[in-house]
């Protein structure tokens, strides 16, 4: 049996699954329920200075797929709306009651040394395992000079991180905002400031929908809406890429990463770990299905590890990094083409429409209506994957490798590249 226990910046956890700082970790009641369900740790809902902010009514919006499946989720909530001392007391008690579970305290206070100097000892006194600096909240807080407003300026990140290392002895995780062009810059800044790790991503600026009757963006507050933070399954690809960027960059490659963003099942978690995360945090999936999903996260990951012969998380961590590279290094001589399995094909013609109208006219339609047959014109197919992606039947279209007999040749060395480098 695979062992899910792991260590992140010196903090031991029974499994790599923590709940991200958000409503699921808002108070002792939720956190205790999460621990009972089996979560390894929590990042407590972000604390700030008193008086605590006030939240509006109507707070969440959704981007739906067919059949009301929530693909993406957004919110216009602020940091905790409960008094600081109440949170600190609860954190102290829960940590005492659950010594084998991790509690990280998320913090967001104004960008002034005094504010940090003041709050850090109080947090340390709770017995929490570490702190996470929320430099990511994209709404409400930046307007007060906090959250993403800080996260978008690397110098501020470095400065605040340094204060934290100076005024408290707990490990410091810097949570990064994705609302920035190059996520490696804030990560490097965090490193310079002495951060023990980074976590990412926080939510993405978004408007999920507009009510076409009232002309208000959702979620609507008395007829008006604002951009909120996007998260959930839909942001996973963005988060994965950002995590890999930090893990691949020589400057930040050694920085431990807590992966966050759209993790809904064990597979997502495994993918984050292969691309550089040491552990993962989950918010939206828990908000949509409840804490019980931890069972599938743990069991699924451990079963998969068993089939692959991985004994612990380290055995596969960063395994996909060597295969993640820049476009210029990809093999221009590699070829794959689509192949349609006629036994599985149901004849819907989606692949044909896609390829004929928008790709390379590589699919042949034959036969009368009702007996249509679709076949790939091998010579025309560029292997773009579009038909395979549009096809409603899993396995009807397979992408098959074609042996071109040619050696590896990247754009870097390609004869047609005017700036090519000699090998």
């Amino acid at each position: 049996m695979a062992n899910l226990a792991c260590e992140f910046i010196g903090i031991k956890s029974i499994n790599p699954f923590w709940l991200a700082s958000a409503p699921p970790t808002d108070k002792a009641y939720n956190v205790v329920r999460a621990f009972e369900a089996g979560w390894g740790g929590v990042v407590w809902k972000t604390l700030g200075e008193d008086p605590a902010p006030i939240n509006v009514s109507s707070r969440y919006g959704a981007h739906y797929g067919q059949n009301r499946q929530v693909l993406g989720f957004n919110n216009i909530e602020l940091i905790t709306d409960r008094p600081l001392q109440v949170n600190l007391d609860e954190i102290t008690q829960v940590k005492k009651d659950w010594p084998d579970r991790v509690i990280i305290v998320s913090l967001m206070v104004p960008c002034e040394e005094e504010s940090w100097k003041n709050i850090l000892p109080k947090v340390e006194a709770t017995g929490a395992d570490g702190i996470e600096l929320n430099f990511g909240c994209p709404h409400g807080m930046p307007e007060r000079g906090m959250g993403a407003a800080v996260g978008q300026v690397p110098e501020y990140i470095e400065m605040v991180t340094r204060w934290c290392k100076q005024y408290c002895s707990l490990p410091v995780i810097v949570k990064l905002t994705p609302n920035i062009t190059d996520v490696r810059l804030p990560a490097a800044a965090a490193m310079r400031g002495g951060a023990d790790a980074v976590s990412l991503i926080n939510t993405i600026n978004s408007i999920t929908s507009v009510n076409l009757d009232t002309m208000s963006p959702e979620p609507s507050v008395d007829g008006k809406g604002t951009h909120g933070g996007y998260c959930g399954s839909a942001v996973k690809p963005i988060a994965l890429s950002m995590v890999s960027e930090i893990a691949r960059d020589p400057e930040t490659a050694n920085m431990p990463i807590s992966g966050i963003g759209g993790i809904s099942n064990w597979r997502d978690a495994a993918e984050f770990i292969t691309l550089g995360a040491t552990n993962v945090q989950v918010c939206t999936a828990a908000m949509l299905y409840g804490f019980k999903i931890i069972d599938d996260l743990c069991d699924g990951l451990s079963d998969w590890m068993d089939t692959k012969g991985y004994k612990n998380i380290n055995d596969f961590s960063r395994k996909a990094i060597p295969n993640t590279t820049d476009w210029k290094h990809l093999n221009m001589n590699y070829k794959r083409i689509a192949h349609i399995d006629q036994d599985i094909c149901i004849g819907c013609g989606r692949c044909f429409a896609a390829c004929e109208d928008t790709s390379h006219q590589s699919i042949l339609q034959t036969g009368d209506l009702g007996k249509r047959k679709y076949t790939i014109i091998d010579e025309e197919c560029v292997g773009c994957n579009l038909c395979e992606i549009t096809c409603p039947e899993p396995n009807a279209i397979k992408m098959v490798d074609i042996d071109t007999g040619k050696p590896h040749l990247s754009w870097l060395h390609h004869p047609e590249n005017p700036y090519r480098e000699e090998k």
């Binding site: 099942n265 409840g290 019980k292």
Partner: protein, 455 residues
């Protein structure tokens, strides 16, 4: 006037018969599983879990299927119900989990829990280690009588807890009615025996075949040599019609006939009547009617003394009988079977109706149905003789004549437990499994206490 009693074998070709007896609900394809599993809402406090007698965590195993963790889904099912594979095939889900699925409310179609369960169990990764381990040996030894669903689940659970188990089974094969009773098309390809092989892999379970309680060994002997006894002996007897003509050849007990059918290697050799009357309204009645049709009977009529709504068989099963060409006659009470020592020709019935007080009354209106075979399927009856005659050393029976038990499935004898069809209940495989599980836990608690007290 001479009659022909038209009972013969080879009514259909072998190929027709093997087609007729193929899997009634074939496995879902991967694509169907994708669609079906997506429909599950992962309900909180899910009603389907409560409706499953073994309390399988249905939303969790379906979510595991949906995330590509079939092995985990199978483990989830089997940890609650070691016969989860056969239950997936034989449970009347339309009256259990699927009946209460919340998807019925606006879509009138539940998540296909049974078929998803089958998919999951079929996809248990057998290259992985056996999913259950045994606790350290307790040195305790339990005798189980009957290797049916109740006995097998009890044995597996006890073996997991570290006890040694010996099963005494009267028949030459284990499985109970899973092997000898359930309709063939529900458990194809010798599934029962394959499943039992999997159950026994836990280790610590020895089955002694053709060892019957009451014949080869007495309850007193078992109690003397073991730390506890679990009785899972099923029912053993069937109810009689008690009408004239019942003794003529051609009047058969449905359960006995199905037993023969289940063990026959060449089904076409089985003699089948041309015109068949089935008396009863439960699962057995449906099964014998459908199987008679599938063997080539021309007319099959199920006759029930009350109206359709009072039938024990679910709507789904009634539909199954009808789809297979059986017809129903309701409100007709058996009067007489007409025939001779060479066979039967017809059966007569009094029509019944409900009086103003809702009581069933028999009228003078008589109908007659020509037939070559009459199957009695009016319920099984517990046969208590194996328990012995000495009322002192024999577990007490309840009002219905089955073994009386308390909430822990303990009989009037402190060290003797019972479950499955031999106690009062719904008489379903899944319930027998539940009884076996719970009795095993109770036995374990009792023995643990003894161990702690140094006995």
């Amino acid at each position: 006037m001479s009659f022909t009693h038209d009972i013969k074998s080879n009514r259909l070709l072998d190929v027709e018969i093997s087609d007729n007896f193929s899997d009634i609900a074939p496995p879902l394809s991967d694509k169907q599983v994708l669609v079906a599993s997506e429909r599950c809402l992962f309900c909180y406090d899910a009603p389907c879990i409560t409706a499953c007698p073994t309390g399988i965590d249905i939303p969790l195993f379906i979510r595991k299927i949906n995330t590509g963790n079939n092995h985990g889904a199978a483990k989830e099912i089997l940890s609650a119900n070691i016969l989860g594979g056969s239950c997936a095939r034989v449970c009347p889900t339309e009256t259990l989990c699927e009946q209460v699925c919340v998807r019925n409310k606006h879509e009138e179609s539940p998540v296909e829990i049974g078929r998803l369960q089958r998919y999951a169990v079929d996809h248990l990764d057998t290259t992985q280690p056996y999913p259950f381990t045994r606790a350290e040996s307790t040195g305790k030894h339990i005798a189980i009588v009957g290797a049916g669903p109740a006995g097998l689940s009890c044995a597996h659970q006890l073996a997991r807890e570290g006890h040694q188990v010996t099963i005494f089974e009267a028949a030459p094969k284990s499985g109970g009615l899973n092997e000898y009773g359930i309709a063939l098309y529900k458990l194809v390809d010798d599934y029962t025996q394959k499943e039992i092989e999997f159950v026994l892999k836990i280790g610590g379970i020895d089955i002694q075949y053709e060892k019957a309680l009451g014949r080869d060994v007495s309850l007193a002997q078992l109690r003397e040599k073991h730390d506890a006894v679990f009785l899972g002996i099923g029912m053993g007897d069937v109810n009689a019609l008690n009408i004239p003509g019942e003794h003529y050849p051609g009047v058969e007990d449905a359960v006995a006939y199905i037993k023969e059918l289940r063990q026959k290697s060449e089904l076409s050799n089985l003699p089948v009547g041309r015109r068949v009357v089935v008396i009863g309204a439960g699962m057995t009645a449906i099964d014998i009617a459908v199987q008679s049709k599938k063997l080539g009977a021309e007319d099959v009529t199920i006759v029930y003394r009350r109206d359709k709504s009072a039938m024990g068989a679910s709507q789904h099963e009634q539909d199954l009988a009808q789809t297979n060409g059986a017809t129903f006659i309701c409100n007709a009470q058996p009067k007489e079977i007409i025939g001779s020592d060479t066979g039967i020709t017809e059966m007569t019935f009094n029509k019944t109706m409900l009086d103003d007080n809702g009581k069933l009354v028999v009228t003078d209106d008589i109908i007659s149905i020509p037939c070559d075979v009459v199957f009695k399927a009016i319920g099984q009856k517990f046969e208590s003789s194996p328990l012995g005659n000495d009322s002192e050393s024999k577990p007490a029976l309840d009002q219905r004549g089955r073994i009386a038990v308390n909430d822990n499935f303990q009989t009037s004898l402190n060290d003797v437990y019972a479950g499955g069809d031999c106690i009062n209940g719904k008489d379903l495989v899944v319930e027998a499994v539940d009884h076996g599980n719970k009795a095993a836990l109770a036995i374990h608690q009792q023995l643990k206490k003894q161990i702690n007290q140094g006995e």
